[in-house]
C-alpha cells in the first residue's frame, strides 16, 4: 500500500516541481525578455541621436504660442512708417494711425512694456530701457545697427552683431536691423478669437455685446464672429462636420453593404463551402489591404475630399463588419427560425423576424463602437486625402507658426471625439434597451 502510494507520489512530485520550475522561468524570463526588447528598440529607434538632435526651442515656441500671442510693432527705417499687426499678419493689422493702448504713435513711437520696460522708435534713434540693466540705443543706418550697450559684456539674452541686434526679454523681443526695427510683445490669450480688428464689435465686453444683441444686432454680431477671417470659425465648424460625415457615411455604408454579404459567409445560412470561403476571403482582402492603401487607391480615382475618406472607411470596415456579422449570425438560436418556419414563413420573412431581431443588439453596438472610433480614423484619413479637420490640422502645422490655431483644432478634435463617444454610448443604450424591453 505505502509502496504504491510513494510510487505514484514520486512522479507527481517531479511533475509539480517541473511545473513550478517552468512557471518560475516564465515569471522571471518574461520581464527580462521585454526589457531586452525595449533596450533593442531604444537603439533601433536611435533614441540617443534623437535626444541630441531634438530642438527644445521648437517645443518652447509651441507651448508659448499655444496660450499666448504676439503683437508686432514694426518700423520701416527707410520710410519711417510704423505698423502694428497682431502676429504680423495682414488680417490682424491695425488701421493706420490706430494702435493698442500700450503703443503711443507719433514722431517718436513710445511702447510701454510690462515690468516698466520702455521702447522708443524715434526718427534717428531706437532705444530700449531695460529695467535692471540699462538703456540700449541704436542708430540703424548705413553702418548697420550701430548699437550701444550700457555694459561691455553682453548678457546671453542679447545677441548682437554689426548688422543685427536681438534683445529677448520676458516681456518682448526687439530686433534691430538696418532696414527695420521690430518689437514682438507677448500677451496671454488667443488674439481676435471673437472679432477681428475690422469688426465694429472688436474690444467690446460681453455685457455690451449682450445689450447690442438684444437691440437687434444679434445677426450682425454672429456674422462678425462666424466669418472672423483670422480664426475662420465657419470653415472649422464645416471641417468638423465633414470629419463626422466621413465617419458616418463610411461606417453605416459599410454596415449596409456587409449585412447581406455576411449571410453568405455564415456557416448556418450558406451550406455551400465554395461560396462561404469566397466571401470570407473577400472580407479578409478588404481588411488586409489597409485603410492607408485604400485611401491612396481611392484618392487616385476620386481626387481629394471627404467622399474619398468616407469610401476608404467604407471599404475597410466592410471587411471587418463582414467578419464580425457572420460570426454573430453563426451564433443565432435556430429555434426561433424553426418556429417561424412551422408557421409557413418564407425565407425572407424568416430572416426578417427570426434572425434580425436576435442579432440587432450585437450588430448595433458593434456599428456604434466603430462609428466612434472611425471619427478618430477620419481625422487621420482626412490628413492624407485632404478633407475635414485633419487637413486643417496638418495645414496649420506645416506653417509652423499658427500654434494657437493648432491648439484650437486639437481641443476641437478631442471635444468632437468626446461628443461622439458620449453620443454613440447614449444611442447604444437607448436602442438596445428599447429592443430588449418590447420587440
Amino acid at each position: 500500500m505505502t509502496m504504491t502510494a510513494t510510487n505514484t507520489a514520486a512522479p507527481l512530485k517531479d511533475q509539480a516541481e517541473a511545473l513550478f520550475k517552468r512557471k518560475r522561468m516564465i515569471s522571471f524570463g518574461m520581464p527580462l525578455l521585454i526589457l531586452a526588447y525595449l533596450v533593442y528598440a531604444f537603439f533601433a529607434f536611435d533614441v540617443p541621436g534623437l535626444i541630441r538632435d531634438a530642438d527644445p526651442e521648437n517645443g518652447r515656441t509651441l507651448i508659448r504660442d499655444s496660450y499666448s500671442y504676439k503683437t508686432h510693432v514694426t518700423r520701416d527705417n527707410r520710410s519711417g512708417e510704423v505698423e502694428v499687426a497682431i502676429e504680423g499678419e495682414r488680417k490682424g493689422e491695425y488701421p493706420a494711425g490706430e494702435a493698442p493702448a500700450w503703443v503711443a504713435l507719433g514722431e517718436t513711437t513710445v511702447i510701454t512694456l510690462d515690468g516698466g520696460g520702455i521702447v522708443t522708435f524715434g526718427p534717428e534713434e531706437v532705444s530700449y530701457d531695460i529695467p535692471g540693466y540699462g538703456l540700449v540705443t541704436a542708430r540703424p543706418g548705413n553702418g548697420g545697427a550701430n548699437a550701444t550697450f550700457p555694459t561691455e559684456d553682453l548678457p546671453e539674452w542679447i545677441n548682437a552683431s554689426k548688422n543685427r541686434v536681438a534683445i529677448t526679454t520676458d516681456e518682448g523681443r526687439l530686433t534691430i536691423t538696418r532696414r527695420k526695427s521690430e518689437l514682438f510683445r507677448y500677451e496671454t490669450g488667443w488674439e481676435l478669437f471673437f472679432f477681428t480688428l475690422d469688426s465694429p464689435y472688436h474690444g467690446m465686453g460681453p455685457g455690451t455685446l449682450m445689450s447690442r444683441a438684444l437691440s437687434g444686432e444679434a445677426g450682425a454680431i454672429w456674422d462678425g464672429f462666424w466669418h472672423n477671417n483670422m480664426w475662420r470659425h465657419a470653415d472649422v465648424a464645416w471641417a468638423l462636420f465633414e470629419t463626422v460625415l466621413m465617419a458616418f457615411l463610411g461606417t453605416f455604408g459599410a454596415a449596409i453593404v456587409s449585412l447581406p454579404l455576411a449571410f453568405l459567409a455564415a456557416r448556418n445560412f450558406t451550406p455551400l463551402v465554395v461560396v462561404r470561403q469566397f466571401f470570407r476571403r473577400l472580407f479578409d482582402l478588404f481588411r488586409g489591404v489597409d485603410a492607408l492603401i485604400w485611401t491612396i487607391v481611392l484618392a487616385r480615382a476620386f481626387g481629394p475630399g471627404p467622399l474619398t475618406g468616407a469610401l476608404a472607411i467604407l471599404v475597410t470596415d466592410t471587411g471587418s463588419f463582414g467578419k464580425m456579422f457572420s460570426e454573430a449570425l453563426e451564433n443565432v438560436d435556430g429555434k426561433q427560425i424553426e418556429g417561424l418556419q412551422s408557421t409557413g414563413a418564407k425565407p425572407v420573412q424568416r430572416y426578417r423576424f427570426g434572425v434580425i431581431p436576435q442579432v440587432t443588439p450585437v450588430l448595433l453596438s458593434q456599428i456604434l463602437y466603430f462609428f466612434e472610433s472611425n471619427t478618430r480614423s477620419a481625422t487621420v484619413i482626412g490628413a492624407i486625402t485632404g478633407g475635414g479637420i485633419g487637413l486643417l490640422l496638418t495645414q496649420a502645422m506645416i506653417t509652423q507658426k499658427d500654434w494657437e490655431e493648432v491648439t484650437y483644432y486639437i481641443v476641437l478634435v478631442v471635444l468632437m471625439v468626446f461628443v461622439m463617444d458620449w453620443f454613440s454610448g447614449w444611442l447604444r443604450r437607448k436602442l438596445i434597451a428599447a429592443d430588449e424591453s418590447g420587440h
Binding site: Y37, A41, D290, I296, F302, T379, G390, L393, V417
Partner: protein, 294 residues
C-alpha cells in the same frame, strides 16, 4: 353561457385591437427612423460628393485604373521585385517595432491605470474617477495629433509615432483591461493583504495571474491595430514603411514598381499578424475553457 362567451370574445377582440394598434405604432416609428436614416445617408453622400475634387459617378469607373497601372508596372519589372522587397524590409521591421514597443508600453501603462481605476483594487480609491477620466482623455486624442506635434519638436522618425500610439494604447487598453478586472476575484488580493503584501505585490501576485490571458488577448488585438496605425503615421511623416510608401508614390507614373513592393509587404504583414493573432487569441480563450473543464 352565451353571455360569457360574448364577453370573452369581445375581450379577445379588444386585446387583438390593442396589439394591432401597438404593432402599427411600432411599425410607424421604425418606418420614420428608417426614413430619417436613409435621408441622412443620401444627403450626406450628396454633400460629400459635392465637396470632393472628383465626383463619385465619374470616378467609380476609374477605381481599378490605379491598381491596374501598379500591377502592370510591377509585372513589367518583376525581376526587380525581390530586390525592392529586400530594400524595404528594414522599413517594415521599423513599422512593426513601432507597433510592438507602443503596444508593450501601452499594455503596461493600461494595466496599471486599469488597476488604479477598478473598485477593490485601487491604490487610492478616492482617485478612481480621476484615473478613469485620464484614460478617457488618452483614448480620445487621435494619434495623429500627438504624432504631428512631436514630429515638430523631435524631428521625424519612429519615436514620435511610437509615443503617439503608446499614448492612445494606454487609454484604449486601460478601458478593456478594467472591464477584465471587474470580473476578477478579489479573494487572492484579500489573502495577500492579510499576510502584509503591499499594493504592487497584491496586484502582481493576486490579480495578474487571473487576468493575464485576457490581457494578452486584448493586447494582441491592439498590436494588430497598432501595425496599421504605425503604417498610416509613417505616411504623415513618422518613419517606417508608410514614409517609404509616401516617397515611392511621389515619384509618380513609371516608378510604381517600388510602391507595389511596399503594398505587397504591408498587405502580407497585416494578413499574417491578423491570422497569427486570431489563432493565439482563440487559443488563449479556448485553452482557458479546457482548463476550467478539467
Amino acid at each position: 353561457m352565451a353571455e360569457i362567451s360574448t364577453t370573452a370574445g369581445s375581450r379577445v377582440t379588444n386585446i387583438r385591437d390593442d396589439y394591432m394598434a401597438l404593432t402599427r405604432r411600432k411599425r410607424l416609428y421604425s418606418g420614420i427612423l428608417l426614413a430619417i436614416f436613409v435621408a441622412l445617408m443620401v444627403s450626406g453622400f450628396m454633400v460629400a460628393d459635392a465637396r470632393n475634387a472628383g465626383g463619385f459617378w465619374d470616378g467609380w469607373t476609374n477605381v481599378l485604373d490605379f491598381p491596374r497601372t501598379v500591377i502592370a508596372e510591377a509585372s513589367e519589372k518583376i525581376h526587380e521585385l525581390p530586390g525592392h522587397l529586400v530594400t524595404f524590409f528594414p522599413a517594415l521591421i521599423e513599422t512593426i517595432n513601432i507597433a510592438a514597443v507602443s503596444t508593450l508600453i501601452g499594455a503596461i501603462g493600461g494595466a496599471i491605470l486599469s488597476m488604479l481605476s477598478t473598485r477593490g483594487m485601487a491604490r487610492w480609491p478616492r482617485l478612481i474617477p480621476v484615473f478613469r477620466r485620464i484614460m478617457d482623455v488618452m483614448r480620445a486624442i487621435p494619434e495623429i495629433v500627438i504624432a504631428l506635434v512631436l514630429i515638430f519638436v523631435l524631428g521625424g522618425g519612429p519615436v514620435p509615432a511610437m509615443i503617439a500610439i503608446a499614448f492612445h494604447t494606454v487609454g484604449a487598453l486601460g478601458k478593456l483591461f478594467s472591464e477584465v478586472n471587474e470580473n476578477a476575484s478579489l479573494k487572492p488580493v484579500e489573502g495577500l493583504s492579510s499576510v502584509g503584501a503591499n499594493w504592487s505585490q497584491r496586484m502582481l501576485l493576486g490579480v495578474v495571474p487571473q487576468v493575464a490571458p485576457n490581457y494578452l488577448s486584448y493586447a494582441l488585438l491592439r498590436f494588430e491595430i497598432n501595425i496599421r496605425a504605425s503604417a498610416i503615421l509613417g505616411f504623415v511623416g513618422a518613419g517606417g514603411i508608410g514614409y517609404e510608401l509616401k516617397n515611392a508614390m511621389s515619384w509618380g507614373q513609371g516608378q510604381y514598381d517600388e510602391s507595389a513592393a511596399i503594398f505587397l509587404l504591408l498587405f502580407a504583414t497585416i494578413v499574417t499578424f491578423d491570422q497569427v493573432s486570431s489563432y493565439f487569441r482563440d487559443r488563449l480563450t479556448h485553452g482557458r475553457k479546457q482548463e476550467m473543464l478539467a
